[in-house]
Structure formats: C-alpha cells, structure tokens
Amino acid sequence: MSLLLVIFDLVLLAGIIGVAWRCLASTDLFRAVVLFITFGLLLALAWVRLEAPDIALAEAAIGAGITGALLLVTLERLRSIMAERHSGRPHTPPPDPSGPHALLRALHDPPPERHSFFPALIFALVVGSLLVTALWHQPQSTGLEPVVDAHMDVSGVDHPITAVLLNFRAYDTFLELAIVLIALLGAWSLGRHDLIPARPAPGPILPGTLRLLVPVAIVTGVYVLWAGSHAPGGAFQAGAILGAAGILLVLARPRQLPMAPGIPLRLGITAGVALFLLVGLYGLGAGHGFLGYADAWAYPLIILIEVAATLSIALTLVALFVAGRPAGDDA
Amino acid sequence: MDGGWLLLAILFSSLGPGIAIFFLPEHRHRLRITLNLGGAGIKLALVGVLLAGVLRGDEYQFSLPLMPGIDLVLAADALSLLFASLSAVLWFVTTVYAIGYLEGSPRRSRFFGFFSLCVSATVGIALSGNLITFLIFYEMLTLATWPLVVHRGTPAALRAGRLYLGYTLTSGLVLFTAIVWLTLLAGAEGFTPGGYLGDLSETHALSLQVLFVLLMIGFGVKAALFPLHSWLPIAMVAPAPVSALLHAVAVVKAGAFGIIRVVNDVYGAELAIELGLTAGLLVVAAFTIIYGSIQALRADDLKQRLAFSTVSQVSYIILGVALAGPLGIIGGLVHLVHQGITKITLFFCAGNFAETLGIHRISELNGIGRRMPLTMLAFTLGGLGMIGLPPLAGFVTKWHLGLGALEAEAHWVLGVLVLSSLLNAAYFLPPIIRGWLGERREPWHEPLRDHAGPTRFETHWMLLFPVVFTAVLGLAVGLFSGLGLSPLGWVSLIVQRDYSLPEFSL
C-alpha cells in the first residue's frame, strides 16, 4: 500500500516538475500559460495527497483558475496591443527599434542565449542541492498542530485552519486581504480599463453555459463559505469561486461592461478590510486585544468577517481581471 | 559654565545675522548692511567684554554633550582670545570693505550669508575647547568658504573651488581620522597648556609620531605648508575681500592656529621635542618660507605674488611654534596677528587697484602713487612691514623669532630669516618703487568711475577706509608693541601663563 503511494507520489512529482519544466522552456507564451494551468491543477492533486484539502481547493480556484484567467486575458491584451501598433494607427509611437519582430516578441520568447546556460544551471543546482540538504537534515517536528488543537474549543469554529486564519493569526489574514486590495489599487493607478475582456464572445455557447454555471457557482461559493467554519473551505476559496463567476459574467457580455458606480464599488472592495479592522479595534477597546474576540462572540464575528471578506475578494478579483479602474471611479 | 553664554553669544552674533541674511531678498540692501555691521559691531563689543574678563583671570566654558564621549566644548583662554579678537576686528573691517566692493553686484545675500558663516566658524575655531570641537568648526569653515571662492561663477572660479575643496576635504578627513584615533588613545581631553599626552609617551611613542604627522597634514593644507599649498594661489580668483579673509583671518590662520594648539596644548612643547617632532616641522616651515618667497618673486600678478607671500609668511608662525621655546613661540604667535593685519592691508590695496583702475599686474603699477596716494601709502607700509623694517610689525616678529632660534640653538634658522627678509625685499620693493617712482604714459582706465560715477576720494570711501585703518593698525602694533595690551604684550601673557614663567622683560 505504502509502496503504491510512494510510486504515486513519485509519478505525481515527476509530472509536476515535468510540466513546470515544459512551461519554463516554452517559446510560445500561450502554450506556457496552458501548461502553467495544468501545473496548478496537478499541484492541487499534490495538496490533496498532503492532507490539505483546503489548500487544494484554493489552488484549483485561485492558483490555477483565477491566475490562469488573468494570464490568458493578459496574453489577449498583449496580442491586441501589438496588432494595433502594427496596423500603424496615426498616434502610435514608432515601433521599438530593438527588434523588427516586435509583434512576435509580444507573444513569443526566443530560446534563451547559450552563454547564460551554465551559470544559471550551476546557480540553480547549488541553491536546489543546498536546500535539499538542509531539508533532509531536519527533525520530524510536529509543528504547532498540538497547540492549535488544544485551543480549538475557544476558537469559535470547528475547523482548525479557519481558527488559525481568523482567530489565532487573524492579523496575517487581515493583511492578506489588504494585499489583495493594494494590488487592485496598484492596477487601478495605472489608468482606466480597456475593453479587451469584453471582446465579442465566440458564438452563443458561452452565454448559454453561463446561465447554468453562474447560479451553480454562486451556490457553491456560499456553501464553501459556510462550510469553512467546520470543514475545508472559507472566505478565500468562496471569494475565488464567486470571483470566477464574476469573470465569466464579464466575459459573456461583449461590449457591455457594467458601468460600475464609483462609491459602491469602493465600499465593496474595502468592506472586508474595513469590517475586519472595525472588529479588531473593537476588540482592542473592549480589552480582548487588537483583533481579539470575546469567546462567546467569536463565531458570529468570524462569520461576519468572512462574509464581508468573501464579497470583497470576489469583487476585487473581478476588478483585477478587468485590470484598469472603471470610469465611475474618477467621477 | 559661568559665562558660557557669552561664548555662545559671540558665536551667534555672526551666525544669526548670517542665517537671516540668507533669507533676505536681494533688494533689501539697507537691512542687509544693518545686519552685517550690527553683527560685526556686537561681536566686537562682546569680544571686548570677554577680553577684559580673561585678563581678570575669569574662566569661561560652555559644553554640550553630542554623544557619549563627544562634547562640544567652547572655552576662552588667552590664546583663543588672541585669535578671536583678531578675527573680530578684521571681520568688521572686511565687512565694510566687502560692502563697498560688492556694491551693485548680484547675489549679495548669498555672499554675505556665507561670509558670516565663515567668520562664525573662525571664531568657533578660536573658542574651541577640545580637538573635536575644533574639527567641527574647522570643517564648517571649509564648507562656508567654498561658496565664497566660487562666488564669481566663472569656470576659473569653479575650478579653483574644486581644487580648494579637494585639498581641504581630504586634509579634513586625515585630520578627522587622526583626531578620532587620538581620542581613542587619550580620551576626549580639552586643550591643556603643556599638553595632555605625557602619559602615553612611553607606551605609544610611534603612534604619537604618526599621529603628529597626520595632524600636521590635516592642518598643513589650510596653513599652506609646502607641499600642500597649491590651492592657495589658485584660490586667488575669488573677490578681493574673500582673498583678504582667506589669507589674513580665516582659512590660513585656522590651519596655523591648529598647529599651535596641537604643539602647545595637545602634545606640549616638551613632548614634541622629546619625540623629535618639532625638528621636522621646523625644517618644513623653513623650507616653505624660502620656497614661498622664491615663487612670489616669479609672479607678476599682484594677488598671485601676495598669495605666495602668504605661503611664506604663515610659515613664520609655524617656525616660531616649531622652535618650541618661549621666545620662539612669542614670535610665532605675535606673527599670527601681525601677518593678519599686514596681509589684509595688502590685499585690500590690491583689491582697490583692481576695482578702481582695473590693474592686476605689477608691471602696470607705474605711477599709481600719484593717482591713489593713500592706498599706495598703505601698500608701502604693509610691504615694508612684511620685509621687517623697524619699527613696523614684521620687525617685532622677526626679532623674536631670531631670539627664539638662538634660544633653541638652531642657528641656521637665523640664516633662513635673513635670506627670507632679503627675498621679501626683493619682491615687495619693486611694486613699491614702481608705484611711487614709475611713469605712467597713457591715461588711467577707470572701471569704478565708469559704472558708479565720480567718487570724492581716490576711490569709494568704503574701500578706502578699511585700507587706511588696517595700515594704521599695522603701524601701531609695531610702534606700541611695548604696551601691555598690544599683541606682543598679550602674547607674552599667554606664554607666561603657559610656561609658568616669571614676569620677564624684553
């Protein structure tokens, strides 16, 4: 049995490493992205094998799903930019003198130069082997599992990961929400969004599928959110699933990006951090410490925060997919 | 700590107006003059009060801890008062001169701002109570002078500024390193007459020797000791008041004063002789005296000649210190004052010639005595004083240096003194002779009159008054050197206190 598992592990790892290698060696960007999405899905499998279903869910939804969508839409944007530059519109600046194949370079990367091969290889080998050596010398520590286990009864939830994320190490989670928000603020500061995600959808299939998919996604998202308190799931996975639904919606409505009103949108993306912070400050005032809850209030507060966080994450991920800020935000 | 505020007040009497002047708009002409002269006057008065106090034997000290082990110490002893009074008097005069000299020229706020900073730094140097404080003001002086050197903004001025900074900052770093090292060895002591390193002479003799060389390099650049002098003649591109200040009061003197402090109050003459340090310094000083004179002989540009003369004359001070006996030190210290007064006169004269008649070269001086008699008279007094004609100031110096040489049994120094006096004569007499006896064929070219209109005197009164004043002062310090409050009398007091000698007459 264990031998079979070992063989499974080895095959899985070989697959992951092989896919990663092909992805990094690829000269065609589209191919690389597809391989990367495959890589993410294989990773999710590995996480299941490592008894981390929460992470597997997150990896599939966020690592492979959302990242994949972001990568694909980026490629689409690059293609359209290069095509526009090539068609020689009057106000385009002169093409980059560094290469006559500027269009090609947008979506292709020529094989790397020979001279960097050995230095890079040796460097990577040294780093990798040192890492492996260090790891093989480590003891079989149990980590913090017993400590978490001992405190589960006062955490307000039944699922240890949720307890860690939203109670024991709530500060990290708060900052994580903040990072998602900052990434969006950064993307918005670059300018208004373009219309690329809203290219006409190829045929009637997508809208048709959507009618089926979006309700399912919403139900799944809400379930995953609710399940988070006692089973694998939680705000991030739910947010990613809802975000994915949102992205599909954006994709399916050609030339009709919803005119997002500025103020509600801002409130929506900040709801998660704002509520989290309010609860945290209340804890500080009430003597439970910053980001602390009274034991009795832990569960409802955690759920409240999770709901707000899910909403904000979903909204932010969709906004990151659209990339630029909506015109409404400047009004 | 009593009276520490007096020291601070002396410092701020120029620092405050200086900072205020920076923020004055260019056209606030009168306010700027008021600030300038007010600051200079207050400083003069305060130094007078301090002088009286020190004469009474009062102690003045101010100290502010900057860091554990680093204190900013201001203190007033007789020696610091010598330099401080010199700066205060000459600053006042130079301020008047500079106001006249720069009348109507642009960027006067900047100029006078840095001018005041420069003097604050000089007074700070004079009043420093320990090496670290000395270094702080010494470096501040470097920085405050640079904008003055490059004030004209010509490529030549900027080149001179770069050279000046290159030399002074490098030497400043050497000095910095040496002082930190010394502090590590001996602790952050204040200046003590007779030195405070005696305990280390057994254990750290080599370190002390190396340190002395480093310190001399650090101070030698500003004091223009050979071979570290090359910046000085090139810095002549600065406006005349700046040259005057650089040569007579601030920069060069700061270097010389540093050397005096190190030999007298850090090492102490005894230790310096014991370690064989003064002998080397003596040779360098003597060489610089001769070298500077010979270079001065070769220069046709008047300011250039004066610059090389400074190189030579400042080394008299160092020569005196290096003789390391009471009489030699009297000669050196008194020359600090005498050279300052005399040299500033000469530079003012050169500035007047240049400003009034556009004359820069010695070969153009023919007959100038008839056009500008007072200035030429002042120049003559200065020149003769430098040569050392009795009873002018220079004679007093050389006389004591000679005595000091005899006392130290360094007879060859007498030869150096005689030779240099001959050389002095050889480069100062020609301009004097030309000025009085030479014939001018063509009419004078009059740039000052052309742009500022006719003047009542031979030149603008603000240019003339300082020249006359310092010339008379130069004459007076020579003539009345026997009085107690003359520079010589004061220097004798310093040496008596430092060497605990009984009252002695000359």
Binding site: L130, S141, A178, I179, S189, R266, A274 | R110, F176, V180
Partner: protein, 494 residues
C-alpha cells in the same frame, strides 16, 4: 492618577497599528477626500508615534521594561502573533514618522491633480502603514506579509508617473521584490520546519549553527539584500528610485530600503547570531567597499539629478555593510550603524524632495540643463546642499556624528589588532570624499555664472518642506545621545 507607562504601552502599540491601518482603509474607501484624510491621518500617526516613544523611553531604563511584546487577539506565541517593540523598532518608527510626515506635506503640493490625488494617497498611506507594521512585527511569517504590503504599494507608487521609464523601473522592482520575498519566505519555511515556531524570540532561543539556519540565513539575507539593494544586488534601484515621483523616491530611498536593512540587522542580531563569523563579516565588509566605490562612480557619471541621488543610496548603504565586520569586533557598534541609517534616511529623503522641486520647476532633471533653475532657487539648493553635507558626514550634521562613531569603531578594530580594519577606515573616510564629489556635482551649477530661470511655479510645500527636513537631518546630530540611549533599550542585543 497617572499609571506607569508600561501598562499603557501594549495598548499604544496595537493602537498605532490600528490607527495607521484605519487611515489607509478610510482613504481607500473614500478616495475623494483621500488627501485630507491623508493629511490629518499623517498628523495623527505622527503624534501617536511621538507619544509612543515618550511612553517607551519613560518605561526604561531597563531594556526589559521598555521593550514590549503584544499578543494580538490575546494569543501568545507560538500559537498567535506577537507585535514586538524595542529600542531598535522604536527608533525606526520615529524616523518613519518624521520622513513620512514631511513626505505627506510635500505631496500636498506635488500631487495636485484631482484624479492623481485619489490614486496616490491610499497607496501612500498603505505604504506607511506597511512600514509601521514591519517595524512592529515579531513573527517571521508576518514579516513576509508586511514586506509584501510594503513592496506592492511601493511598486505601485513607482509606476505612478506612468511613463515608460517609470513603468519599466516598476516592473523590474516588482519582480525583484517578489523574488526577494520568496527567498525570504523559503528561509522562514526552513526555520519553521526545523523549530516548529514562527515567533522571532522563540526562534532565537532555539537556533543554533545548523544546516537549516545556514541555508535560511543565506536565503533570507539574499532576499533582503535584493530588497535593500545592497551590493551586488542593487542594479534595480536606480531606475526605480530615479523615475518615481519625488515623494515616492524619498520614501523608497529613505525608508523602504532602510526597512529591509532593519530586518537584516534584526535577524543577524537574533536568529542568525550563532552564524556570524569574522570571515563572514569580512566578506560583507568587502561587498560594502565595492558598493561604496561602484555607487559613487555611478553617481559621478550619471546625467540626471535623481539618478545621482539614487546611486548615492547604493554607495551609502555600502557604509552600512562596512559596519558589519566592525560589529563583530565591537558588538556595541550596531547602534552606530542604526544611527547612521537614520541620519542617512533623513538626509536622503530631503535630497530627493529637493530634487523633486527642481525637477518640477525645470520640467526635467537633466543636470546639464538645470543650471538656470538651480540659480533661481537658492532655497532648494540650500536644502540640497545641507542634506548633502549630512551625507558627506561633515559637521554640524547628524552625518558627522554618525561618521565619527563609525570611524571610532573602525579605528577601534585596528587598535584591537585587526589588519583589515585599515581597509574599513579608509573606506569610511574615503566614502565621505566621494560623497562630497557627487554632492558638489549637484550643487555647483547653482554657482555658475549664467541666467536664472525660475521655471514652473512650485507650491510653498514643495519650497519649504525639503529645507525643513534637511534642517532636521542636520540637527539630528544633537539627537545622537537620545537615539543611542533608545537603542540600548533593545533586550538581547549586545
């Protein structure tokens, strides 16, 4: 009734985190008023930090009494996250507050377009909050997160001008930052795998010179050196810092880089202390000398004002590296290093702000064509010069005191018998000359004879704030005793 300061400290620390986060969140949610929120928030955070520092110093004189750990949510380590305030973090918090307040005031004048303001302020407030949290964090993984908060907001601000140079600088900066963070995170993971805890104090107690610590040290040091642009991992710095908006450059060169450096220092004084060997110190010191020379050489040939300043950051951080071998001989020297970093941050920020004013007035910052503006704006040039003097380490400035102490430590190592100490002393002394040379390059054109061109009008904020900050940098010399005293309140440090 006045309670002992210790009892208030934990609340005040958590309150600082809460306040700076609240300011950022409110500005994000209400961008229309972001600049007003930013201004009042900046003043509030500044006041809070000053109050906190007063409480902190009052809680001394024992280091243990003043240094405080706050369990967030009431969960003590190893389960929960601890905030950690000691003399080192307190000093850097105060530094951050000063520079950030100046930058905020400056930005009021610099960012005046309505739409730009809405984008700028939330990001800037997040950056500031991130820095505050970085200095207060006492948990290895939380450090990674705060580093990310700082990097992402900093990158967004670099790209803010939207020009090709700025965006390509930002992309490079972002990739480098992600790489650095990942390297750091891998180190954290290794340490976690070995010891099963993330809290820095617990880690420090358990760490020894084993393979895990070695590899973690390599990874985390390399990652932080990347972020701090320490030689030879610095190539990204100049384009990023040089093309960002002026207030952002000031914060990047003054605070963000210092933040990474702070973390390096903290780790090497704590978790990795068993690994510090003389040979390692000498290696780092040599890197520092190389950085000093390379950065100065680049600053001497760069054609743009802000590039010169950016390269000088590389050079000045060389100093900090040179200090590492000194710390091995004289452990007390670390306080000097921090003081130097503080003074550098103040001076560097004011130089960047002054450069921004000139750039704004002239419309560019090409040194060769800047003469007219330099001549017409003596106040800004004075600020540039004053801060430059501090960078050179000349009196009266804070830089002088810092350099004095560094030199003292360097000469101390020579006297203690270390031959290579001569190199450190020469580097410390000579670096000042190189600094003088490039500062002179920036200031000298103001003294050239030529026409004056005041250029575009600048707001009073942009006119006065650089001068004010430069004055603070110069007067920092007088705060030396206080700073060094505060730094002694760091338990566990030598």
């Amino acid at each position: 009734m006045i309670e002992a300061p210790e009892t208030w400290l934990p609340t005040a620390i958590a309150g600082l985190v809460g306040l700076s986060l609240a300011v950022a969140v409110v500005a994000t949610a209400w961008p229309r008023q972001a600049h007003r929120i930013g201004l009042f928030g900046a003043l509030a955070v500044f006041a809070w930090v000053l109050g906190l520092s007063a409480l902190f110093v009052a809680a001394g004189p024992e280091a243990e009494a003043a240094a405080t750990r706050v369990a967030l949510g009431g969960w003590e380590a190893p389960l929960g996250l601890m905030l950690h305030l000691d003399g080192l973090s307190m000093t850097l918090l105060v530094l951050t507050a000063i520079v950030a307040l100046a930058t905020s005031l400056y930005s009021l004048g610099y960012i005046h377009d309505r739409i730009e303001r809405r984008q700028f302020w939330p990001l800037w407030l997040w950056l500031w909050a991130g820095l505050n949290m970085l200095f207060l964090s006492g948990d290895a993984f939380n450090l990674y997160i705060t580093l990310e908060v700082v990097s992402l907001s900093a990158v967004a601000l670099v790209a803010f001008t939207g020009t090709a140079a700025a965006v390509s600088g930002a992309v490079r900066y972002l990739l480098i930052n992600i790489l650095g963070s990942l390297s750091f995170l891998m180190g954290v993971v290794l340490l976690f795998g070995e010891h099963g805890v993330l809290d820095l104090v617990l880690l420090e107690a358990r760490s020894e010179a084993g393979p895990t610590e070695r590899m973690a040290a390599v990874l985390m040091t390399a990652g932080l050196m990347l972020k701090a642009a320490l030689f030879p991992l610095h190539v990204w710095l100049a384009p990023a810092h040089g093309s960002a908006p002026a207030p952002v450059s000031a914060v990047l060169s003054g605070l963000v880089v210092t933040g990474s450096f702070y973390l390096l220092l903290r780790l090497w004084m704590g978790v990795f202390a068993p690994l510090a060997t003389p040979a390692f110190g000498i290696l780092i010191g040599l890197l520092g000398v190389a950085a000093l020379i390379w950065g100065s050489a680049q600053a001497l040939r760069a054609g743009r004002l802000k590039s010169i300043v950016a390269y000088s950051t590389v050079a000045q951080f060389g100093y900090l590296l040179v200090a590492f071998p000194l710390m091995l001989v004289d452990p007390d020297a670390w306080r000097v290093v921090v003081f130097f970093a503080v003074v550098h941050a103040l001076a560097k920020a004011s130089v960047f702000l002054a450069a921004g004013t000139l750039q704004h007035a002239a419309g560019h910052d090409r040194l060769a064509e800047l003469g007219g503006v330099l001549r017409a704006r003596p106040r800004t040039v004075f600020a540039l010069g004053l801060a430059g003097v501090s960078l050179m380490g000349l009196p009266f400035t804070g830089g002088f005191i810092a350099k004095y102490l560094l030199l003292e430590a360097g000469l101390g190592t020579i006297l203690a018998g270390s031959v290579i100490g001569v190199l450190w002393v020469v580097a410390i002394a000579g670096g000042g000359l190189l600094a003088a040379a490039y500062v002179l390059r920036m200031v000298a054109p103001a003294f050239h004879r030529g026409p004056e061109r005041a250029g575009e009008a600048v707001s009073p904020w942009m006119d006065w704030v650089p001068l004010g900050l430069a004055t603070v940098a110069a007067l920092a010399g007088f705060a030396g005793t206080l700073t060094l005293h505060t730094l002694t309140l760091t338990p566990g440090a030598p």
